[in-house]
Subunit: 138 residues, 4 copies
Amino acid sequence: MMTSPSLEDAQAVLAAQPFSAMMGTTLSQYDGEGVTLELDLKPEHLQQHGYVHGGVQCYLADNALTFAGGQRLGPAVLTAGVNLSYLRPASGERLIARASVQAATSRSAVTQVEISALKDGQEYVCSVGSGTISTMKK
Amino acid sequence: MMTSPSLEDAQAVLAAQPFSAMMGTTLSQYDGEGVTLELDLKPEHLQQHGYVHGGVQCYLADNALTFAGGQRLGPAVLTAGVNLSYLRPASGERLIARASVQAATSRSAVTQVEISALKDGQEYVCSVGSGTISTMKK
Amino acid sequence: MMTSPSLEDAQAVLAAQPFSAMMGTTLSQYDGEGVTLELDLKPEHLQQHGYVHGGVQCYLADNALTFAGGQRLGPAVLTAGVNLSYLRPASGERLIARASVQAATSRSAVTQVEISALKDGQEYVCSVGSGTISTMKK
Amino acid sequence: MMTSPSLEDAQAVLAAQPFSAMMGTTLSQYDGEGVTLELDLKPEHLQQHGYVHGGVQCYLADNALTFAGGQRLGPAVLTAGVNLSYLRPASGERLIARASVQAATSRSAVTQVEISALKDGQEYVCSVGSGTISTMKK
């Protein structure tokens, strides 16, 4: 039977992603309840109006949705697709992406994510989305 | 009547995005036929298996879909949502995102994007997606 | 201030949809927790393999996602888009679509839906999805 | 090697779908360029404001996206997911859904669809969307 990777295993995967290392992403939760990725915001994460670039949110969503799928299905997964809806401009000290499994079979999972910005000590939701994650075909 | 920004205008917008500057994105087409963004791949764009991180593709898709919407609707647009489907792992020298308007009204556009990897001088499609772009509400 | 329609108001809206009347859809929940639509399955709801047609699930998802948005935002809403992921073939006596608000501003809501089939007295999830619902622009 | 079904084969599949028979859908194109489904509008296809019910468009989109995937990948396909963005209210004499393959591998295809309404002899686009279609896993 498949055993879900531990938080430490998952943090090692994240650390092995050069792009996540450059972004500065950390993994603070990885269990059956869901997955939480955090990103301390820096000036280079912004777009031309001073808000967090939508692509930064997309990256964080893609990563959180995939980790949530892998937590359920095992580490050998592929992300088939992701979507993200933007609700409010993001700014502040940190982005927090919380992802969990919305529904799953033994071979695929639909995962959902909510991205919040922590600004002046308050969180507000910036975007929400979902992803489709599959086990690798044999 | 609204006049579409020129290629130079749009390149200035891209240059004003700190995140795109860090990524190294360039804009090579911006006209009524569509928009092309290019990204020379570097080691920090990869994930743990040596392929381009899905989040890099998501970022590029988000940006190309939004530029394509702005080209049609004018520069004051908001991206309501994006989706991206992954078809093949991406690797090589460069990512190329080509986006265009699939359908539009005067206030919103559905744009589509195809992301290709240029590897050993050959292009292949890695992912495709779409976005919903709206003019800002008065 | 906007007052959410009551269950009876919403049932009257559903009854005023000729397509929903033909399908046989009923509304059994409509409150701040979410919305539940139910559809007793008949032979004309099936596809060529004897399962419920995906388009029937799409219809039910679209309707539940929109009702959930209207419950939050008020009755004058437009559905900007919907998506649905299929997990298992649907068959049995009844489809049940449960929708709720995933996140919202005063002008738009992202709603989510889970569609289950009731078969031999047991429910199982067939598909999940989400929608973007907006208030009408003035 | 897989041979794509003919137009007649595909029309027989459509005729074997009880739901499509009830709706009155016809298939007028099925080739390497794409797939066209048509639906003569009747009063029972409408919603409470007299426009075509969004769920009718969703059904037609789901069906066209799936047929377009099957045309490319062969008849044994599953639809993993669909999305549809609504641009304008639909009314008139007929809905026409044109779907084609946006990108594909040997095992999956992303297909796109445009739904137009024919009203007073003029066509206008009502909604556009995409779908992910896969071959059945062995």
